[in-house]
Symmetry: D2
């Protein structure tokens, strides 16, 4: 691993930092029962449970602080309007109206969060997320959710592409297994985002909120 790191470092990957800007927002990716409830094929991995719990703490503080929150789930009308997924359980379970598409109440507040359905992997792919954060003058987006090596990775890339400062609290994103979780955090930290933690994000948001007063 050290050697690989060196090749990228030598070529200037990770040579810049991003940091917190002037106004935060939070993008919550796929904390829906199909991923967070162990009764589903894709649901309930320990890393995802950890991410739900830490995200719930972070989101509570964010709501008290007036931070814009967008949250999404993956859902389809039928197999006809799906892209060519290779995950059988996505194709079978994530149908609009099924319980697997319901947002987990631990991380969703329908009276505060802006909820949206997505059809791809990225939360920003053909959804209102980028326009919402743009209109709110958010420049710094914390990305939380699942799974790190799938929809979270895709959302981080898009968040970066849209011009946001992208911050990822490691303990607020989860995956089916530790290896791909780590591999993807390594890839995106070199290129697109800063890694941080729920605690650090909470501190930053509290400080930002205090500075607005």
């Amino acid at each position: 691993m050290t050697d690989l790191q060196d090749v990228y470092s030598e070529r200037s990957y990770g040579g810049e930092t991003i940091g917190f800007g002037s106004k935060p927002g939070i993008a919550v990716v796929d904390f829906q029962l199909g991923f967070t409830d162990p009764s589903y094929t894709l649901g309930g991995s320990p890393l995802v449970q950890r991410a739900v719990e830490n995200s719930a703490r972070l989101l509570g503080v964010a709501r008290e602080s007036g931070v814009p929150i967008a949250t999404c789930y993956t859902g389809y009308n039928s197999k006809r309007d799906m892209p060519y997924w290779k995950i059988t359980a996505v194709m079978e379970d994530l149908i609009e109206g099924e319980v697997a598409t319901e947002l987990d109440p631990r991380t969703y507040d329908p009276d505060y969060d802006v909820a949206m359905r997505k059809s791809g992997a990225s939360m920003f792919f053909q959804t209102p997320a980028a326009a919402f954060f743009n209109k709110e003058l958010v420049d710094t987006v914390y990305v939380v959710g699942c799974t790190t090596s799938g929809c979270v990775r895709a959302s981080i890339v898009d968040c970066f592409q849209w011009g946001f400062r992208t911050l990822v609290p490691e303990d607020c994103v989860g995956d089916q297994a530790e290896g791909p979780h780590r591999d993807n955090l390594r890839d995106v930290e070199r290129r697109y985002c800063d890694l941080t933690t729920a605690d650090d994000a909470i501190d930053r948001i509290r400080a930002w909120n205090a500075s607005q007063a």
Copy 2:
């Protein structure tokens, strides 16, 4: 690795295949001198050189067969219109008009390919690529280029999201090092695309062309 594979397999990742549809296209990601010429900070890794050579073979056959080809490079007016890249050399070298933004002549035919500039990681992010393939009635897109753990990964995800059958010849995509190259092929094969090779893609394209006659 085997154990990780098992977790994902148990949860139905990789449970579907995609396959070749009715009309192929090729998306060529960032085969520009800044990545393919060893004189640049980011340029000339062995895996990228291998990818250029195999892609050149594939693209030659594709042009003879009338396959639509879109090719892109990353370039900016200045640092002002860049997203928050963490790769210093991207920020310094990839400025419109600089040699680092020129498409590598080994893989670019200006009389055939549809060339476009991109501003993000994905070739499909705010470029004419998806509309071009849509208009051409392409349903199967081979993604080639560099780098696997960066712009290629991002392009594969978008290609999938737009509803194309996405096929990735492993020896036509390259990276700075083998580890992230492999890790990313593993992640995307489970979810978004089938892996294949230059030779197999050439055979498929020749067979498709013969069937059109």
Copy 3:
């Protein structure tokens, strides 16, 4: 009017035709109760009622013929995730969960149509519509719905931009008044689409279906 037409004609506007391609689809814009039910501020104009009736005929034939249909409504979580609309009734009535966002049952079949929420004017703006038609290999899109000088116009432009052959049955799109309805059909016919009628579209779809057998 004749003189104006001449200036545009002299400058080659309307100098090309588009025509029917190889596979049709239908994009249904905002046939939701907020626009089709006279009890709403924006609802029930005679031109919209005519459009609903003609579209219902067209959609019935399209479903029998296996034509992909995407249908959308405008709806928001709250005023916070709306763009800066200048239409007061849009801001007050089109909230997710309100009856004004329900699709009109005369033109919506939940067992067949692919339904989606939109947040902008265009049906293709940050929705799954373009990806759905792309995946279905649709190359010819009939745009129907309301209102001609608003969301229909915006959807026609996007449909064209995505590379589809765009056909607009005049009697399947409606507006609050005849003047802007006509003005917008004039503008788009010169640039982006062919005008046709429900009857002609029905004939074309029946002929296409027969040719598939």
Copy 4:
């Protein structure tokens, strides 16, 4: 006309205003020689000349004031990557590398403006424009350029959809003829933007700049 106006007013169109927010930007649509030079089929209409002159004044002040400016032209590799335009001169003249695609030097400063190629009607359709303004924390976009009933209208709609406060100086947008110019300003003012003038925009930008000191 009065009666039509009444129908829309009764139904609450134009019932809101938008206004200037916290940071302006300018989107310049298609001030390229193919539209501004009378030697081209589409070029040099009096309303477009007026728009170029007023926009040049506005852009001069904007550059002195540090206002982000994005400018675009329409251009293609060939007819293959064009959408189905019905304007013959667009298809024949607007090929990358041709003089008709060069930005008019009266309104373009290559050392300041962020320039981009577009492939559709809207300046925001699959271009870096929205991401650029988002990253710059622009919330208020003045749209100038040509033509009002074509690419300007399309750009206004997208600018609105992305969540920007959209302001249109009437004397900075031009068309081939007065009728469609007026009709489109009427449609968009009811729904998506406020109308203003070059002089008012200059005053606003100077006041904004003074307030930043």
